[in-house]
Symmetry: C2
Subunit: 156 residues, 2 copies
DNA sequence: CATATAGAGGACCAATCTAGTACCAATTGG
DNA sequence: CCAATTGGTACTAGATTGGTCCTCTATATG
């Protein structure tokens, strides 16, 4: 299962890229080129980030985007939530009102714990952390991963 | 954003229900009635759980399912992985080989940390934990499904 | 042995969601 | 004014998902 949508993933890539040059302003096209992502899609992602106030936008000629805060003060949770919406494991975590089971579902109360754990995991990592470099070289090359033994692996 | 698919959510509900009566064997229809989930879908979920060895199936007349292990020894991570597949935040976490960005993507190495945190959050909760406690008293009788002209929508 | 029951394993479909694009309005610098 | 750039929305093709159904195999029982 994939947890993040592609767009949210792009969001993180874009935001991380911006964190690398926080004080410089860049327009959508430049960011798309730098990250090698489709330009129109990057523009869409940036709009979402701007909407949530994670980046500030300047319109008009010579306009562009820059991070609204220090890279260390923006967490993955915020970036992801800006694009994919608030984080919840189950439907009822996000739209409790819409669940007909709410009244008798015995599992519901327990999701909150896991929910919080996931949220904290995403909140604990800032753009600065994502940007930090060293692991780049150390990370294994992209060769196909060997078949893994059972049960759940959280690949990577 | 919703992290679990509906099917995975159902899986947890079904597994939790089975944990409540671990030694009793029940067939798919009975479990569907007790959990008020669509029967054919519950059957599908149970097959997936059986495939991963989380429940054991007995075929034939008087057949059915039961948990393969103690409820305390089955984690949410396993149930979810049985249905939604292995857990990964991003595409590249699950299918690293398929990502053209792999070679230069600077964010990739950092997902592993978050990935593991999410996995651990799901691994830390057992079916016993989900079942534990209060909310259960309110749960309607398990075996005799109350007359239901129309199945309720739990699309949430 | 015959029959009814129940899971195994797919095939299939409709509905929804997603990624990506396109378009036009608003804003700003030159 | 003109060009560049974001804001916002609408749209489409394709993928994904939830849900159903059908056929095959295994088992209990009379």
């Amino acid at each position: 299962m994939i947890i993040l949508s592609k767009l949210a993933d792009y969001g993180v890539i874009v935001a991380t890229h911006m964190a690398a040059e926080r004080d410089r302003q860049a327009n959508a096209a430049a960011i798309a080129a730098a990250t090698r992502l489709p330009q129109a899609t990057v523009a869409k992602v940036l709009k979402a980030l701007a909407h949530k106030g994670l980046v500030t936008a300047t319109r008009g000629a010579t306009g562009g985007y820059r991070l609204a805060r220090a890279a260390g003060a923006i967490s993955l949770a915020e970036v992801v939530a800006a694009i994919d919406g608030d984080i919840g494991l189950t439907q009822c975590s996000v739209h409790a009102a819409g669940c007909a089971r709410t009244n008798y579902c015995p599992t519901r109360p327990h999701w909150a714990v896991v929910n919080r754990a996931v949220g904290e995991a995403l909140s604990a990592v800032s753009l600065d952390d994502m940007r930090a470099s060293q692991a780049f070289a150390a990370y294994p090359p992209a060769t196909a991963a060997p078949p893994q033994p059972e049960p759940p692996r959280y690949s990577a």
